[in-house]
């Protein structure tokens, strides 16, 4: 009887944990080298680091900073179905994965670009992709994906 009770208790405890696991955002993989301080450190400290280093750049002209928003979006670029990196408009964007989950609004991209520097801006504008073969394929893949 006690054994049954214990099993029942375990099942009760395990259920919310499992539910939480499935709710946790799916964080997209980055392309560059891993942060030496570890992901946990960055998850907690990235607002402070960005705020600190932005002052170095704007006021002291130091552009070789550790926490650069431009590098964030370069390493953490998420490719959309059309093979171009997604902008902050998409909920696939790296920053939005967690920020949507935590319901914390980010203002950074009202001014800063949310895609890497070498992204062809033309790729981001719909309608300009036509006439280019590789991108036509990407567009087809995208449309097929959307219709499903």
């Amino acid at each position: 009887m006690i054994r049954l009770l214990i099993i029942g208790l375990f099942a009760l405890l395990a259920a919310p944990v499992m539910a939480q696991d499935s709710l946790f955002p799916d964080i997209p993989k980055a392309t560059g080298e891993a942060h030496p301080e570890g992901n946990e450190y960055w998850r907690i400290n990235h607002p402070d680091m960005l705020r600190h280093d932005r002052n170095l750049t704007v006021h002291e002209g130091d552009r070789q900073i550790q926490a650069s928003i431009s590098e964030c979006v370069t390493c953490h670029a998420v490719k959309g179905p059309d093979a171009a990196p997604v902008t902050i408009e998409s909920d696939q964007h790296f920053c939005r994965a967690c920020h949507d989950y935590a319901a914390v609004k980010i203002d950074c991209f009202q001014c800063h670009s949310s895609v890497s520097e070498d992204t062809d801006q033309a790729l981001l504008l719909p309608g300009q992709m036509l006439g280019r073969e590789t991108e036509l394929d990407a567009l087809r893949a995208y449309l097929e994906g959307a219709s499903q």
Partner: protein, 246 residues
Amino acid sequence: MKKTSENGAERSRRDFLKAGAAAVTLAPGVTLMALAAPASADGLKPGARWGLLIDSSKCPEDCSACVSACSNEHGWENNGLDTDPQWIRKVNLKNKQTGRASSLPVMCQHCEKPPCVDVCPTGASFKREDGIVLVDRHICIGCRYCMMACPYKARSFVHEPVTGQKHTTPRGNGTVEACNLCVHKIDRGDGTTACVEACSATGNNAMIFGDLNDPESEIAQALLNYPSTELRGDLQLNLGVRYSNI
């Protein structure tokens, strides 16, 4: 994990260790250390004052290469509306008595004593150590006092949401902006601005960029040897942008 704040001291210590300091052991236990010099090209040049010298006699009325170059470099667009941003504009002058006409580009004059900095309630409008007057949009609240204070009408307000910004020039709705003397290019060590590059490309060579504090620089030599003037010199703001042959 314990929350640690990222402060300047921590950073410089880390950089110190990372960059590697030159160390000389004088005696056992006594070490003389010298910091490695920071990379010269990148960042703020101490003691510099960046400025422009514009020769109006070499600036044709129908040329606006500097304006389009600035627009391309920084990603702003002016379609003629009063509310459109304008970092640099062409001004045509005519002396009513003699009829002599001249043309010149006008942008932020990068004053030594900028009125826009005096009036800013948040400290967003500031002057960098090397004389460049900037807006820190992180703390700009968009009150536009600086626009009222500027005698040169150099600043504009962003009235609408912006997308597709240049990486080097973040700009967004609700903040004030103006010519930043291509600060990203200066920090990179390019030694020029987009407007000066474009002006040289047209062959007019009406604009010179350089360090006013360096007596050997082209701009300092030109200012030394030829007459030049400040716009509204009566305000005694000691401008970084100077004109000749107006």
